[in-house]
């Protein structure tokens, strides 16, 4: 059967033959544009000629979609992605019967699971737009009606008094649509669909904007979901790791096993990596405890310890080597403007290291087979990058490695560059014992051997004029490198990894960036800069580990938005202006004004230029914060009560107004924002990673506490649908950054005291309130 081909806005539609059953249109890759893709080898990538592709239109009118992204609790791939594809294709939501995600051998694109809506242009939207046009071409031929005379509704094309469903259009045929793509499949950002197929006008939207339920919730609450924790392979062994005593300890000697007590257990040692495998999980746990008690490690003290952290960052860290990032909105002469200001503020703000702290510690199953192929079963935000990292570690080609992704505990950015922690260790152990191995980290492993969100400090100089306007604003942000995607098991075993952030060739380097866009356009003089440095302790660690950092929900921006927003509140107080009114006075952008006015109206904000006099014992206050991230404007009001004797803050109410542009799924967005608000309160009040000179000392939920249900405030979320913004901003991510500056602002309102260090724990506040 000959292949016929036609052009669809730069994509190629071809008919590869006719079939009796199972006719379909498959939208796949354009090989020419896919840099770095290889199809040879034992474990091939998706072949564009095969039915593994972005979108499949089946003759029974069902549709399958594939995405290399995974679900991390946003539900986006099961809700918004389906809605966006259904909208572009012109089919009902329910026609998208299947979503395949996150497997390197079964999904087309890569990239990290973040920015899921990609400013309104996720790959699947464009892929769907190409498919829509291809279907119209087919219908035009079959119905003998000009393309522009055709109408699509609910998956049926009509014109000239005739109609055919999409299924009928593909029936009996094998059709392939080859879509142009660009980018690097295995990078942080993956492939991007190229070209400019016509997109459906927003005015014709009927599916985007509705609250469709998340299909995966049913399987999760009925125990039908296959979680990564449920993966069991034939002959699989259970493993526990014996991690080093410190973040810089070399192995002196590994402990031994009493074989009469643990007949089915085995110790694996490779370099400084020690693991214990056994037939049963319980035997692995007990055997690992025995091995750990006999294992000897070198001592190492290369960290400043949490008590000296900010002194270390201020006085000892090198901020001069990395290039300094300047904001694009910087303007004016700060020195002159400060000199001319009526009132001035000079202050330092400090944020501690935080943990992603997934409820389930990371785990992975690996199967390194005799033929050299490697299968990894895990929960990762970026399976293609993990695949690349595993191949690099084993000095093999990526074709030999398959990563399959399953549901797991959310970990908020930890694996957006590939690994969450245990995957490489599972591979190393599997290779050593020649069987599939399941590595389950303990809670302690997960707190002490995973990455953390960088600590940061910021210095502010600002001035306010006699009218109460911001006359000068300067901020310097200091933060160690925040994106270490090296595989820690490979580091321990002495196997190849990508470079550390301060080594030549590293993707992100040690430079900091301006993560928090300036939003107060009326300010005449602004100077924002960001300084970077190496990860603390890494260079002096004999095993090159130290405190490894990683982006975490609203990365970098959380660290920069807290000091800015608290400083803006302080400036308002200096100027004798209500802090919310002060923000409005300095805002030009209508969407920013919109969220600020909305949060004022919906929170019960009292506009007043002076703080309310406090009662004895319990002081109440209101505070506000605002932020712009990935196309979305946010404003938040916190209402708190402070026990001035105990220093305990009770957050009574959080009100969030969010304008993401087009709201794709209001119910899902609302839940995501509520969750982010809760995480934000937790970070503000409780979270701070403890560490000494050798390593992380937090080991469980008592030493790294998070917010409990008893302390959850009333949460009010106001969604502002703003279709004319013509953007789907990010709803799921950024809400966690809002609470801390709003709560600190409310504390200032309640007590007159300024807490410029997080978290706002009682002992710190007691000292502050007494001062």
């Amino acid at each position: 059967m000959s292949t016929t081909s036609s052009d669809v806005f730069g994509a190629a539609l071809s008919r590869r033959g006719f079939v009796k059953a199972g006719g379909a249109l498959l939208a796949g890759f354009g090989l020419a544009g896919a840099e770095g893709r290889q199809t040879a080898g034992a474990v091939a990538d998706l072949n564009p000629a095969q039915p593994e592709s972005w979108i499949e239109i089946h003759e029974d009118d069902t549709i399958l979609i594939r995405t290399g992204k995974s679900d991390f609790g946003q539900g986006t791939i099961f809700t918004a992605y389906r809605q966006i594809v259904a909208e572009e294709l012109g089919v009902p939501f329910g026609a998208i019967a299947t979503v395949v995600s996150g497997d390197t051998d079964r999904t087309p694109d890569g990239g990290g699971t973040f920015d899921l809506l990609m400013h309104g242009m996720p790959n699947l939207r464009k892929a769907a737009a190409y498919v829509h046009q291809a279907l119209l071409d087919l219908a035009s031929q079959r119905l003998a009606v000009a393309k522009d005379q055709l109408v699509v509704k609910d998956g049926v094309v009509s014109g000239g008094g005739k109609s055919l469903s999409f299924g009928e259009l593909v029936k009996g045929q094998k059709l392939n649509l080859t879509i142009p793509v660009k980018g690097d499949l295995h990078s942080m950002f993956g492939l991007t669909v190229d070209g400019n197929p016509p997109l459906k006008p927003l005015s014709e939207y009927t599916i985007v904007g509705k609250s469709f339920p998340n299909s995966v919730i049913v399987s999760k609450v009925t125990a039908k979901e296959t979680w990564v924790t449920d993966v069991r392979l034939p002959g699989m062994l259970h493993a526990r790791m014996v991690h080093p005593k410190t973040l810089g300890s070399k192995l002196l000697s590994a402990g031994t096993l009493d074989k009469t007590e643990f007949p089915n257990a085995q110790v694996v040692v490779k370099g400084n990596l020690v693991g214990v495998v056994a037939l049963s999980e319980w035997e692995a746990i007990k055997a690992a405890q025995q091995v750990a008690s006999g294992t000897k490690w070198a001592e190492w003290k290369g960290l400043p310890g949490d008590q000296r952290l900010f002194q270390f960052l201020k006085e000892d860290a090198d901020w001069k080597t990395a290039p300094v990032a300047s904001s694009q909105t910087n303007k004016g002469d700060v020195t002159a403007a400060l000199a001319a200001s009526a009132k001035k503020l000079s202050a330092t703000y400090q944020l501690p290291y935080l943990k992603h702290a997934p409820i389930g510690p990371t785990l992975a199953v690996a199967d390194v087979r005799a033929d050299g192929s490697v299968f990894v079963y895990t929960h990762t935000q970026n399976p293609q990058a993990l695949r690349s990292g595993i191949a690099h570690m084993l000095t093999t080609s990526v074709d030999r490695v398959v990563v399959r992704t399953f549901a797991g505990a959310g970990h908020y950015g930890r694996s957006n560059g590939g690994n969450a922690g245990a995957e490489d260790e599972a591979v190393i152990l599997s290779q050593a014992v020649g069987k599939p191995v399941r590595v389950q980290w303990t809670r302690q492993d997960d707190l002490q051997w995973s990455t953390q969100s960088s600590a940061a400090l910021s210095e502010v100089e600002l001035g306010v004029d006699a009218k109460g306007n911001l006359s000068a604003y300067e901020i310097k942000h200091y933060m160690p490198a925040m994106q270490d995607d090296r595989l820690v098991g490979a580091l321990l075993a002495g196997l190849p990894t990508i470079p550390a952030p301060n080594e030549i060739g590293s993707l992100f380097g040690i430079a900091n960036a301006m993560h928090d866009p300036w939003i107060y356009d009326a300010a005449p003089v602004v100077k924002e800069r960001a300084y970077g440095t190496s990860q603390v302790g890494q260079a002096s660690s004999p095993i090159n580990v130290g405190l490894r950092d990683h982006s975490m929900r609203t990365p970098g921006q959380y660290q920069q938005n807290f000091p800015r927003e608290l400083a803006i509140t302080e400036a308002a107080v200096l100027g004798g202006v209500d802090p919310l009114q002060f923000r409005l006075q300095h805002a030009h952008e209508k969407r920013l004004i919109g969220v600020l006015e909305s949060v004022r109206e919906n929170s019960g904000w009292e506009t007043r230029s002076e703080r309310r006099s406090s009662s004895n014992g319990l002081s109440r206050g209101q505070g506000v914060s605002a932020m712009f991230r990935s196309g979305t404007y946010w404003a938040c009001v916190a209402h708190i009560a402070v026990d001035t004797t105990s220093g305990v803050i009770k957050v009574e109410k959080i009100t969030v107004a969010v304008d993401p542009g087009i709201v794709v799924n209001p119910a899902q967005l609302r839940r995501q924002v509520e969750g982010g608000a809760v995480m934000g309160v937790s970070m503000a009040l409780l979270e701070e990673l403890s560490f000494d000179e050798s390593g992380i000392t937090a080991s469980d939920w008592r030493s790294y506490p998070i917010l409990t249900m008893a302390d959850v405030p009333e949460i009010k979320v106001v969604l502002i649908d703003h279709p004319t913004a013509e953007i789907y901003g990010q709803g799921s991510e950024a809400a966690n950054a809002l609470a801390a500056p709003a709560i600190a602002s409310a504390l200032l309102d309640a007590t007159g005291k300024i807490a410029r260090r997080l978290p706002l724990k009682p002992a710190y506040l007691q000292a502050l309130l007494r001062a």
């Binding site: 946003q74 319980w282 389930g360 995480m679």
Partner: protein, 175 residues
């Protein structure tokens, strides 16, 4: 060989008596409801009902559960069907009202903790038919060995789902 009663069925297990029940349920009986969260009874992801009381299966040994009725997330529909005296045909297509409420409210985010949340909610609603928000918060925070923790911050959705389920269960009790 130890015999235990899980979701109304007697199961024989070959594992040492000191094995935590969690590993028996997951590895020997292939149940996927209870999850490993900490192994320290500090989070509640592994919760099951033991004679109707919420316990942490990660620190409950196999040897200690003989003769007691264990209910996991998988067993909630049958538990409800039995309480309501539903026919076998009706029972087969019934979810526990709590599961229905969790779906209707779209409560889970990543969902990893929700097994323990639904187990704790079952214990609560079997004892207190119409709990106040304060009683719900108390149940999930101070009534057990530790608070039930959710890192995604789904607590608001959990409170709303418990209230929805309580209303649904009260209606069906009247019917």
């Amino acid at each position: 060989m130890t015999t235990i009663a899980v979701n109304g069925v007697k199961r024989e297990v070959q594992a040492p008596a000191d094995t935590p029940l969690l590993y028996v349920l997951r590895n020997d009986l292939a149940l996927s409801g209870p999850q490993f969260g900490c192994g320290l009874a500090q989070c509640g992801a592994c919760s099951v009902l033991l004679n109707g009381k919420e316990v942490r299966s990660c620190i409950t040994t196999l040897g200690s559960v003989g003769g007691k009725e264990i209910t996991t997330l998988e067993g909630l529909p049958a538990r409800w069907a039995k309480q309501k005296g539903l026919s076998e045909a009706d029972a087969a297509k019934t979810l526990h009202p709590l599961q229905e409420a969790w779906i209707a409210e779209q409560t889970p985010l990543c969902g990893f903790c929700q097994n323990g949340m639904m187990i704790k909610a079952t214990e609560l609603l079997e004892r207190t038919a119409a709990p106040s928000v304060a009683e719900i918060k108390e149940a999930f925070t101070t009534s057990g060995p530790s608070p039930h923790l959710c890192r995604c911050g789904s607590y608001t959705g959990i409170i709303q789902a418990v209230q929805r389920a309580a209303t649904a269960m009260a209606k069906r009790s009247e019917a």
